[in-house]
Symmetry: C2
């Protein structure tokens, strides 16, 4: 029977989502909990990998188990066996046709910054310290990313993606107490793409690059015209949207 | 020369403020950084101890150093040598008469909860998961604590305090996104007092105790009529107030 899971994790101590030979990963931890709970080796397939240190509040995954139970029970069975950095927020039975990766229609990431002259250890685990964050200026540049673009300049080298064209549905910049959040929603993201996009908005707001630089980075793929790729600590996968026929998570 | 420091820390991995034989503490970590920076053994004296696991955004301390420098430089000298869970937010030269503990006029603590049926690892480090948090009900009971009271019923056994009478200036309950914050401001606090007060507000909001229970806990010191002492993870020392003659932190 196929189940869908909505998962949150503090990515700080993980080497990302995907199982690796060396280093603990979110996928490995979930598969260990499944083995412990049900005695089976099952593969937990996510909507997509998250990199080392990246957090999630709404990662979605599917898993096939030779066990029939009320969908919600799976979350409890796993949570009692998971380390405190991971929690299954909800679970349900999913149709056989559901694939957490291939069925995904939209994903939303959030990149968070806080302004402080010195590091704040309470904010620092889930946000990047910056010297200034002009939300209004970031919004001016944010609209340039919306639509279908070739994000070659925003992709780390070594990516195996077949195409670097992606569609961005929205880029919103919001204030939340001392924090500045950049929400990016799109049909898919290349390796490091959100962190480089956020770095580009930050650099634009600091006057280090111009709108013309951003436009030519999208039109001509010029990597030297985009901002720095920001650290993983500020990035969080917020939600994955499967449309009206998606699982009831 | 005497210096004052404003310090923030993620208390999760510390056995509280005060130096101990076994276990890492915030005070020990600061004193190690001072030894490394200036080659001296100096005692860093806080406004008061915080317990194991308790956080701070505005702890204040003083330290005497045989070094003369611009006050702000001390923060940078220490931050480059401190672990990532502690940060000196600001520092200044303080008058010889300044004593971080004895000169303190008011302290403000915050206890934070979030409502969720399952644990959320992103919120869980600095907040307590609860099934419900009725801020309006908490506010009704919060006023009962304001003023001068004998907080004997709110003090963990084994406290060495000479008197259990304290004055509470305000108890405010505020919503912040998914979080409920209880701010408690007073002239001083007994061991576990804020955590027990917060637990009492939570129990009142859940209908487990009445206003009469709270009143008699304050008038007669009856411990069985107060709520549970809540875990350290939700508690944060927000600020210490020294009045208009305090250090310019």
């Amino acid at each position: 029977m196929r189940y869908a899971l909505k998962i949150a994790y503090d990515g700080t101590r993980f080497c990302g989502w995907q199982v690796q030979k060396n280093g603990n990963t979110v996928q490995a931890e979930l598969e260990r909990a499944i083995k412990e709970a049900f005695g089976v080796d099952a593969r937990v397939c996510a909507s997509g990998r998250t990199d080392s240190g990246v957090h999630a509040l709404g990662q979605v995954a599917h898993v096939d188990l030779p066990v029939s139970m009320a969908g919600e029970r799976l979350a409890d069975a796993l949570n009692s066996r998971l380390c405190e950095d991971i929690s299954v927020l909800s679970s349900c039975v999913a149709g056989d046709g559901f694939d957490a990766n291939r069925s995904a229609k939209k994903k939303t990431y959030r990149y968070t910054m806080y302004v402080s002259s010195r590091r704040n250890p309470i904010l620092d685990r889930f946000a990047l310290r910056v010297d200034s964050a002009d939300a209004e200026a970031m919004r001016e540049a944010a609209v340039l990313f919306c639509g279908v673009h070739d994000f070659k300049a925003y992709c780390a080298s070594g990516s195996s993606a077949l195409t670097t064209v992606r569609e961005i549905y929205s880029v919103n910049v919001e204030r939340r107490e001392d924090l500045t959040d950049i929400y990016v929603c799109g049909n898919g993201f290349l390796y490091n793409m959100v962190r480089t996009l956020a770095g580009t908005l930050l650099w634009y707001s600091m006057g280090k690059i111009s709108k013309e630089d951003i436009i030519s980075s999208l039109e001509e793929g010029l990597r030297e015209r985009v901002g720095k790729t920001l650290p993983a600590r500020g990035l969080c996968l917020m939600s994955v949207d499967y449309g009206s026929r998606g699982p009831a998570l």
